[in-house]
């Protein structure tokens, strides 16, 4: 489904494209599927957060903020949270269209996550702090703020798995926290990649995280600090194009893990979405090119749908670009299912 466009795609096996009205009018900062339904929450630079029903292809609700919205996430199926460039963290109740401010950072809030393990909202901001919020005490900012944790640099990306929280910041810092003890990071790391971090996402099995950089590369990292554990880590190149003998390297904006198979999709400024099998180090699939940069990706709870935000990410500044769009495609098993190795490798 392409939200915002009634264009049908006849491309056979690759999925269905339909359309709904009212896509965001400006760049899409993030989109996420609900853990309970096929609802899709979309935050945008047009200061809005929109809730779509991807299966019915409907716009369910819309919230307007004081500034561009840089991230959003679901709380449950009826409410969610948003991180805005106007420094606010908001709670959104879809049924009533109500929103209240959970609290504020000193700078734009870049990313937001909700932890089902602790029932807390975690936000990362360019004010170089991480804040945890209790959404239940949403009577005032003072009561909902649980703690503020200084980071070495501006927070660029967050990811959660179980009680683990991975914080990627500017300056290629990566802090790994245990949510049960936020007083200091469990691990302080530096990105294995030598360029700015774009996105970090934990493996669904909780053993590590994938980290992408602006230089067409993804590092596969493991929490286990033992030598054997670290031996497994590796990095690979992706989202590149060879042109006239020169490699053009695109930023990798988004990583999304398949909830069932543990394979993952990456989206880059080249407009491609690739699906990888991290265990077998294979690329499983490449979807046909999207009109512009892939800004965000999300698999639905059962992994049958993949939402793709095709939206210019300002990698080349303010310039004319293709219209932003949300594509929801149905995912074939063959595209995401790990393939057993064709040949037994005696060395692994």
């Amino acid at each position: 489904i392409r939200i915002g466009d009634r264009k049908y795609h006849d491309g056979g096996t690759t999925g269905r494209w339909a359309g709904a009205r009212e896509p965001p009018s400006d760049g899409i900062s993030n989109l996420r599927f609900s853990n309970h339904s096929d609802h899709l929450l979309v935050s945008s630079w047009d200061k809005s957060v929109r809730l779509y029903d991807a299966s019915a292809n409907l716009l369910r609700g819309e919230f307007m903020h004081g500034g561009p919205v840089l991230d959003c996430c679901f709380h449950d199926d009826s409410s969610g949270f948003s991180a805005s460039a106007d420094n606010t963290v908001r709670r959104l109740v879809f049924n009533y269209g109500r929103e209240d401010i959970l609290g504020r950072h000193d700078a734009p809030v870049r990313c937001i996550e909700y932890s089902y393990a602790t029932g807390q909202v975690i936000t990362g901001s360019w004010d170089k702090t991480l804040k945890c919020w209790d959404p239940r005490g949403a009577n005032g900012p003072d009561r909902s703020l649980v703690g503020t944790y200084t980071q070495p640099e501006r927070v660029y990306s967050l990811s959660l798995v179980g009680n683990r929280l991975v914080v990627a910041t500017a300056g290629r810092h990566v802090n790994v926290y245990d949510l049960r003890n936020m007083s200091q990071p469990e691990q302080r790391r530096e990105s294995s990649l030598k360029y700015q971090t774009r996105c970090v996402r934990c493996y669904p099995n909780g053993t590590g995280y994938a980290l992408s950089s602006v230089e067409g590369r993804v590092a596969m990292e493991f929490f286990d600090v033992s030598e054997a554990g670290q031996a497994k880590k590796y990095a690979f190149k992706c989202h590149r194009k060879s042109e006239a003998g020169r490699d053009i390297v695109y930023p990798v904006n988004a990583i999304a893990f398949h909830p069932i198979y543990g394979t993952f999709a990456t989206g880059g400024c080249d407009g491609y979405v690739n699906v990888w099998d991290g265990n077998n180090k294979k690329r499983l699939y490449q979807y046909s090119k999207y009109p512009t940069s892939v800004a965000a990706l999300s698999f639905s709870r059962d992994g049958r749908l993949l939402a793709v935000a095709s939206s210019y990410t300002y990698e080349e500044g303010d310039k004319p670009h293709e219209p932003d769009g949300i594509f929801v495609r149905s995912v074939n098993e063959v595209e995401v299912k790990p393939k057993p190795k064709a040949y037994p490798n005696p060395t692994t």
Binding site: T14, G27, S29, P68, L70, P108, W126, K128, P152, R154, A170, G171, R172, R189, E190, S191, S192, L193, K194, Y195, Q196, V214, E215, A219, A231, K233, Y234, A235, F236, K237, C238, R240, G245, R246, D247, I248, V249, Y250, P251, C269, W276, K281, K282, R283, L284, Y285, Q286, S288, K289, T313, Y314, E315, G317, V334, A342, Y343, N345, P346, T347, T348
Partner: protein
């Protein structure tokens, strides 16, 4: 005077007077003349007779006149009566002689106006008749063509001008008028039918109608409604309907074949759309086809052309299909290592199809038959083939093991060494089972051959001969090994003797320093593995790393201390360690498909065979008794040794760090020929990740501005740039202080 006046008033009296006076005068004359009395009497008689004659004539005249009048009256009366009877009226005037008004003249005078009146009425009536009659005639003449029209009732029957008759005529006229309108209706109906027929058949309606009767083609004016015309119209309708049926049949036949062809060739809907109006009529009955020009000659020709185009397409598709089936056959043959029928036979078949000499369907059928046959054979071969695969992989492992056994540093602990050890262990077990496997395979194959009476070939070579060769080779190797063992024993004796002489026992291990050797051999090993896939292009890699980025952290220092500190110092790359291991891993992965490939496509890639292991191919006459595999292995070993030598050559005069660097470089080098390019089209074929390090050419960072970043000292993400976010001065300071 008085008498005179009387005389003057009465001419008769006057005439009498005149006669008397004339007689007197005559008497006087006669007296004078002296006429005799006889003469006088004679003359007077003559006079008397003359007078009588005149009177008689007058009476006759009067009598005649009376008779005439009487006749006139009688005639008038008769005429009157006739008129009355003709008009079916009671005679108005019945003569009653005693009632007669008097003189005949008066009678005549009374009867004449009546006659006149009746005559006038009769004339009027007659005109009425004539009018109706004329109309009847006209309609008759319209209905019946002149030839069949008999002018029987041309004239009006003067004797019967009664109102009843008039009514009768009127009725006739009405019925005729009705018939006329009926006929007109029928004609129009026919014309409508004909018109729709002509429309559908794409014919000129006017012309068709003109052929029947010129009056029909005109939009104005009366239409000919004669029987003849109607019959002709009906005939025309019949004729065109038959034509329509024929054409409809033709079109439906065409539509049927069109649908079949579409179905066969998966014609895109857009292309089908153009002929949707044809195919939707495939089951329509005659009256349902009403679309103009639907059955015109042009349209049918058009559809026919499309069908023949599709037929042609089908022919070419058939060839495609034949080729596809052929490749399927080849694929099966390839998979089961059989040799398919020769290519030329196929080409001949295709040429035959193209020339139309052979029905492609039959060729297709033949190929399918072949496929079925081959499949069946493949099934019977399956068990043996599985064993062959196992044998071959065992052989490969055997080769690897041999090579590994030759590596004197194999027990040096390095990363992943335990895995290699495991592999060696497995390989040894496998090699031990090899002779039994070969034997079982041979007996199986023999049984198979006996059962079928044909040779079991593997890629065209008889499997038994391959096995035989292998056994011979193995025996040779065994002998060689034995010889080596003897030699070693001999060497041992010599060393023992030397020891006896010099009192020291140099260990072969001490020839190379432990750590250095391990690293080198590791690099070498991966090189060796690499070169199996194809020639390696080694291009010098320019250093693209910004020096400002050199920020080694604690983790690196720790590792550097342990392993290759200098490497890190010379190459301040943050992901150096990861890349090192990843690099090796990547090479492994990259190497695999190539190896596999060499197994599957032995025939295909002759060019690569120089560097590629070509297992169990027939031994060429120029070769020695050793198999290609061993030759290549030897070759590789030579290379490896050379590499080691060159490395040592380079490193000897230099200090240790640079040596390690070059070794590391060796590992990180991108194997150009092996890199599998990302296909631009989506594919389900999984592709190995490019885990190797930076390529030779400096990559262009899309959108990211590393240079700018360095200049600014502070990096910003795209979002920060877009939001116009700038770090506050205080932050900047603290950051710089940090």
């Amino acid at each position: 005077n008085f008498s005179m006046s009387n005389l003057q008033n009465d001419p008769l009296l006057q005439v009498e007077t005149t006669c008397g006076s004339l007689l007197y005068e005559l008497q006087i004359i006669w007296d004078e003349v002296g006429e005799s009395d006889a003469e006088r009497d004679k003359m007077l008689l003559e006079l008397e007779q003359e007078c009588l004659e005149v009177y008689r004539r007058r009476v006759d005249q009067a009598n005649r006149c009376r008779a005439q009048i009487r006749q006139a009256i009688a005639e008038a009366e008769a005429e009157l009566a006739a008129i009355c009877s003709a008009m079916g009226e009671r005679p108005v005037h019945i003569r009653q002689s005693d009632q007669s008004p008097g003189s005949l003249k008066a009678e005549l005078k009374t009867i004449l106006p009546q006659l006149e009146e009746m005559r006038k009425r009769k004339c009027d009536r007659r005109n009425q008749f004539l009018e109706v009659f004329e109309q009847i005639q006209r309609i008759r003449s319209e209905i019946y063509t002149s030839t069949e029209y008999t002018p029987s009732n041309t004239a009006v029957d003067e004797t019967d001008l009664s109102l009843r008759k008039l009514e009768e005529l009127h009725r006739e006229l009405h019925s005729l008028q009705k018939e006329k309108s009926d006929r007109l209706k029928q004609v129009l109906e026919h014309m409508n039918t004909l018109n729709s027929l002509c429309l559908v058949l794409g014919m000129d309606f006017k012309q068709t109608v003109n052929e029947v009767h010129p009056s029909l083609g005109e939009s104005e004016g009366t239409k000919n409604i004669s029987n003849d015309t109607i019959e002709q119209l009906a005939a025309a309708i019949q004729k065109w309907r038959e034509v329509k049926l024929q054409r409809m049949q033709r079109l439906q036949d065409l539509a049927t074949s069109m649908l079949e062809l579409w179905n066969l060739m998966d014609t895109p809907v857009a292309e089908q759309q153009m002929f949707q109006n044809v195919t939707c009529n495939i089951a329509a009955s005659e009256h349902e086809i009403t679309e103009p020009n639907m059955l015109s000659v042009d349209f049918i020709n058009y559809v026919e052309a499309e069908v023949s185009r599709l037929e042609e397409l089908k022919a070419s598709k058939m060839i495609e299909l034949v080729l596809k089936k052929r490749s399927e056959l080849e694929e099966i043959c390839r998979k089961t290592h059989m040799i398919p029928e020769s290519e030329s036979a196929m080409e001949i078949a295709i040429a035959a199809i193209e020339s139309g000499a052979v029905d492609p369907a039959s060729v297709l059928e033949q190929i399918e038959l072949q496929i079925a046959k081959v499949k069946e054979e493949a099934l019977s071969r399956k068990e043996i083939l599985e064993k062959v695969e196992k044998w071959m992989s065992s052989c490969e492992e055997e080769c690897w093991l041999e090579e590994y056994n030759r590596d004197e540093n194999r027990y040096n602990a390095g990363r992943g060494a335990h895995l290699i050890l495991k592999r060696a262990e497995k390989a040894r077990a496998m090699v031990n089972k090899l002779p039994a496997l070969v034997e079982a395979l041979a007996s199986r194959t023999t049984a198979w051959e006996e059962e079928r009476g044909i040779e079991f070939t593997y890629d065209g070579i008889r499997l038994l001969s391959m096995l035989e060769e292998y056994t011979i080779l193995r025996q040779e190797k065994e002998e060689e090994r034995k010889r080596q063992r003897d030699q070693k024993k001999l060497q041992g004796q010599i060393i023992a003797e030397q020891e006896a002489l010099f009192g020291s026992k140099p260990s072969p291990m001490k020839n190379q320093s432990g750590k250095k050797g391990s690293r080198l051999s590791c690099g070498g090993a991966s090189n060796r593995r690499l070169s199996l896939g194809g020639p390696m292009v080694q291009t010098p890699k320019p250093d693209i790393l910004p020096s400002t980025k050199a920020t080694p952290n604690a983790r690196h220092v720790r590792k550097n201390d342990r392993l290759h500190q200098n490497d890190q110092l010379n190459h301040p790359r943050d992901d150096g360690v990861a890349a090192l291991s990843a690099g090796r891993r990547g090479l492994d992965i990259a190497g695999l498909p190539a190896k596999k490939h060499s197994f599957n496509a032995v025939n295909a890639r002759e060019a690569e065979s120089a560097m590629m292991r070509k297992p169990f191919s027939p031994i060429s006459s120029t070769d020695s008794s050793k198999s290609n595999a061993t030759t290549i292995l030897e070759d590789l070993n030579r290379k490896h040794e050379m590499l080691q030598k060159t490395l040592t050559n380079i490193t000897t005069p230099l200090t240790t760090p640079s040596k390690v660097t070059s070794a590391a470089d060796e590992e990180n080098r991108t194997p150009k020929t092996m890199a599998i390019p990302l296909p631009s089209t989506p594919s389900t074929v999984s592709v190995a990740m490019q885990t190797a390090m930076t390529p030779a050419a400096p990559p262009v960072l899309y959108g990211a501005h590393p240079v700018e970043e360095i200049d600014e000292e502070i990096e910003y993400s795209f979002e920060e740039r877009r939001a116009g976010f700038v770090l506050p001065k205080t932050h900047l300071k603290t950051m710089l202080q940090v």
